[in-house]
Symmetry: C2
Subunit: 646 residues, 2 copies
Amino acid sequence: MNPVFAGAVKVDDIFWSRYIELVRCTIVPYQWEVMNDRVPGVAKSHAIANIRIAAGREKGEFYGKRFQDSDVAKWLEAVAFCLATRRDPALEATADDLIETLGEAQWPDGYLNTYFTLAKKGERWTNERESHELYIAGHLIEAAVAYFRATGKRRFLEIMMRNADHIDAVFGPEEGKLHGYPGHQVIEMALAKLYEATGEPRYLTLATYFLDERGKRPHFFELEAAARGEPGDLGPFGAKMFEYNQSHLPVRGQKKAVGHAVRAVYMYSGMADVAALADDESLAEACAALWDDVVRHQMAVTGGIGQLEWWEGFSRDYDLPNDTPYNETCASIGLMFWAARMNRLAPRGEYYDVAEQALYNGILSGLALDGKSYFYTNLLDVVPEEVAARLDAEYSGAARRGWFPCACCPPNLARLIASIGGYVYSTSESALAVQLFIASSANVTVGGVGARITLSGDYLRDGRMSIAVEPERPARFTLMVRIPGWCKGASARLAARGSAPAPLPGEVVDGYLRVEREWRPGDRVELDLPMPPRRIRANPLVRADAGKVAIARGPLVYCLEGVDNGPLLSDITLARDPKFTTAYEPALLGGVTSIRGEATRSAGGWDGALYREADFAAVPVGIKAIPYYAWANRGENEMKVWVNQG
Amino acid sequence: MNPVFAGAVKVDDIFWSRYIELVRCTIVPYQWEVMNDRVPGVAKSHAIANIRIAAGREKGEFYGKRFQDSDVAKWLEAVAFCLATRRDPALEATADDLIETLGEAQWPDGYLNTYFTLAKKGERWTNERESHELYIAGHLIEAAVAYFRATGKRRFLEIMMRNADHIDAVFGPEEGKLHGYPGHQVIEMALAKLYEATGEPRYLTLATYFLDERGKRPHFFELEAAARGEPGDLGPFGAKMFEYNQSHLPVRGQKKAVGHAVRAVYMYSGMADVAALADDESLAEACAALWDDVVRHQMAVTGGIGQLEWWEGFSRDYDLPNDTPYNETCASIGLMFWAARMNRLAPRGEYYDVAEQALYNGILSGLALDGKSYFYTNLLDVVPEEVAARLDAEYSGAARRGWFPCACCPPNLARLIASIGGYVYSTSESALAVQLFIASSANVTVGGVGARITLSGDYLRDGRMSIAVEPERPARFTLMVRIPGWCKGASARLAARGSAPAPLPGEVVDGYLRVEREWRPGDRVELDLPMPPRRIRANPLVRADAGKVAIARGPLVYCLEGVDNGPLLSDITLARDPKFTTAYEPALLGGVTSIRGEATRSAGGWDGALYREADFAAVPVGIKAIPYYAWANRGENEMKVWVNQG
């Protein structure tokens, strides 16, 4: 199936419209100001200046990470998605001018990268392990494709086609070319998009080449190091380098997710793209094995991945600490990219179950409700004084930050949210699928007939959605509606045009309710996905969660926050039957359903003692849980997802 | 009160005699071989060679840490205590020759240190923050005093008096001397011992000077750095340097234990020594405040201290992780040193409660039952694959190691165990105290009369001890018997000479049962300290132990080990009433009382899922707990002290 492009989906959702407007009205302008170094008190960016200097428009020196350009690329992609659904001449003029600047910074041969233009001119294409040259190219290509699809303007696309053509001239199997691949993946996804946008098969071939070259021996990164006169240089991760960037094995032979989590899921996304576009079965099989590994062994309940801080990556199976994980926002975003692509390859509700799990929890938690501060790591158990003592306190903390020296996450959030409509629907020749429950409408073609599909309802409030299907004329096709894995007692009724709702014929296959019939204008499906509060347990192999439960409701994982429950959340033990009640609180955190329940705290009388003989005295307390994504919007305080269960 | 010297106490205890013989017959010879680099497969020592080279007996270069000499010092101290209770001509000859070698390595001015003799000749006394020169001197002085008291031989003592006199000429308030103090404390304790052994008051004055100079501004370590031409050098801990080595405040103003734990408790021990010997009340008050801080906020249930790996030291209050603490063996040994000195200052049962807690748990855990391998860090929750991934895996692990590049702990264990008799009794003019329940006898003077005291019984087996008091003639004094804080229902009866046991008059004051009467030869106290298994809870402010209990019996903390309970100990939840039973198992781990009880494990049926809705199904299992000190003697496996409590 093919996803319906975000620009073709009009989101009109009580939850998501607020976020989309936040991107449009706050985040995009805010990040532009930050990248222009006009926001005091946040980490310096200089990203726009780097481009202007490389273009010759300004004097100055490069500043920042070698991948600083990628922040701009992701921001431009967010702008593209904003423009796709509502034109904004001023914003478009800013973007167009920035695109022109990029064009001016491009080398005659198509090369485009400010770090290697300004700071390390003679070193381009000599250290792909660390240089991020292909990473920057990939993000710029993605932005260019989005900008083209959103605005119809070809300038940015043409710049990046020239860049891609240059890369194609540098890398490849032919003699004289570099037989290499990126140290940080993303170009694979990008080239797949460029192929789809342009129809140029060389781009798909190059994406496939980058994937299949990986893991070959002698190892490209060793050959590169030798060519630089640095034989034996394995970089900061030493012998773990090959795992770190997933070049330890040919990708078709990889079964375990290892190494840097963002690199990993970006690569797996590219693998799924190529598998779909080239109908490549062994790549699809590798993707499926890796998927199972991640979601069965290495994923936090919030959809966070990458537990080890020191390499921002995967750990041992079931090593899922709550107080010290990494769970980078970008990694969960990448997991969602991958999930969507797995669903494209072979639709299964499980893929969007995970996408939804990541989206509503470990991704949105990266963003403050006001759009102006961000979590880089997303912890599940936070005590402010403990996280302040972390070695990576600059990237972890009890409070979101306005920017980071390595600022990958903030613009990644912007582009994802701006494109969220693109994850709602997919179509094939004979089917129309609803993947996420975001109130919206789209004009699609299915069964050879144009049709309008409209989702309405307030999913997070009550799990009730109405799906109106309006083909131009009666048409036979299958409506596929994902029934979330978390849902018990889902039901659907069909209100055929002018009739009262009646039980819907259809069955759930691979997580999708499938209704094949002749659909007529005015048909409507009423979906009821009951979402009472529930408790989640982790597999006993997850040591960190032993004796604990996570509270959830629908797709939302909940947490206890100090502001509602006082300090020392570790002392709270949920009652065996916590008698949960829910209340929609419109004034709380932008409008959330809170959960209250019964628990105990230990009795006092310690008189300063550190240890004493157990007496198990406890006092009853009420707890209040809020959605995890919304925590840390009421000042620094404790937060806990996994709560002791009595 | 003054402790009765170890050499005057004949230990005849089923538990401790085995350990003392292990030191004598195995550990002392083994460590000698290691320090001579004749044990394959362990970290290189070279400590004896360094001394022989410095003495001119061998050619070669210095190898090892700059404090490598201190390993030899502690080993010599262990030898001294071995010789104190049983002469061994061969061992004594080895020691005497080594002492001669030290004398040959000594500079004409009394300086003695192989690192600064061989490797950094011109740099002596230029960087006391890092050099460990006073640390080595301190350990050698302690060894020399012990050797003198054990053998009556003065040679080693005289060498170290010359060394102390040299130090006294280098440091002090007079103009032209260094107004400084050690980066790693121990010299304070050592000088106090030297003062007691020689009666020379300059040594006590110098100890007091080293304490009182600390924390003054401008800061000695900054002045030192400037004198070296390295102004601004704060060492590896940067701005934390002052806290790291407890030079952030004058010692009399220190209320919080901070920094490197071994340095801290060695210094607090020296403070308590000076407080006792100089009758210094404000030092005693500082000691009391620091004591309260450590035992009420910063001590593991095993008597482990120093929770932070990165500086081997104290953390925030109540930050007592089980899987990642440091709990260095030397730090618990130092805590016991300090506890004994606090008891000397003002006898309180609490001090020896803590000494006993450290001794039987976090100290003895440092030693394998065969004496040939050692834990440097003492974790409370070990999963082999997790500790193997620790950054400090060289010093932490699921298995003890034969030696370490920094080998402070192994000889520290040897000297402590060899001197254990010295912790059993104290006397004052009018009182005789029993602090630890180690079967032994000693000839003491109390109430102006010579008396023999004999403890018999098997404390760890049943908590029943018999205390026979035999004054040369009837004498009035107070017998003080510590009633352990963990004990409920302690009782004591007096069997006056020739009479049947009868209730003992006396009351418990500050943790000691005090019986003042006229004691006559043949009097006997029968003490019953019931020790059923009990569960310990930690103060709720200790987040790591929330919802968990530790199993204990008498002074012993117990643990679950994988070999008895299978893997995945985190999945075990103790029953609300675990119905503990005990069994003495003579063939297990040298003879231990094991504890069995009822628990549950989570039910299966996960089918590879990582998360699922909570169902709380559980299956009953039995658990078996063993004393913590004895774990890791049956191969690498999991271990857990704090167990989930249902």
